[in-house]
Amino acid sequence: MIDIQLLHTPLQTESCIAHVEDAEAGGIAVFIGTVRRKTQQKTVVRLEFEGYEPMAIAEMRKIAAKTVEKYGVIRFSMHHRVGILYPSEVAVVIAVSTAHRAASFEACRYAIDTLKETVPIWKKEVFEDGSVWVAAHP
């Protein structure tokens, strides 16, 4: 019912969707997080993601359990990528199925918002003239 993966290879959106298909579901919502080329008017050359991998997976599992409980999710899939990513590449995919559509949108949003707060994964933005760890400093 719950599919959590932290991968060093390109993510397969279709595999997340396939995982959440269910005859009891009335809808599937999918969030795909991609690498944006511009941040604060600067051009991003690449992002370097790293994770405290076993803990990241444990925290992703907690989010899955909480999302299922809170929104009555039928099936849940969350894949995150680590390593070097270039603009337009996919960093995270979340797919959920629920009986009715409203819950699927809310569940997807809750899962990505919580991931950004609690999962020990870090990204460094590399520009043409330097680099910065996202959110590290005030």
Partner: protein
């Protein structure tokens, strides 16, 4: 006691793993105090959390030699 470091904390410390001597019954707060003295740039971070055995730890939690301890600077996944 071995401490794992990630992201900007790893860069500030200059290593993904360091060995630290802590007094018996030292807490998470004691460890942070020691590290922030030793590596002042850690003070400039938005936050610095400690994970013990892959769970976010409370400030008063006592550290054991056998624990897996990690420095968690502000996360930025997604």
């Amino acid at each position: 006691m071995k401490i794992l470091a990630f992201g900007i904390a790893r860069e500030i410390i200059g290593s993904a793993m360091i060995e630290i001597q802590l007094a018996e019954n030292a807490t998470v707060t004691d460890l942070k105090f020691l590290l922030m003295n030793q590596y002042p740039r850690l003070n400039q971070l938005n936050s610095l959390l400690i994970a013990v055995n892959m769970e976010y730890a409370q400030p008063h939690q006592i550290l054991q030699d056998c624990d897996e301890i990690a420095l968690i600077p502000p996360v930025s996944g997604g």
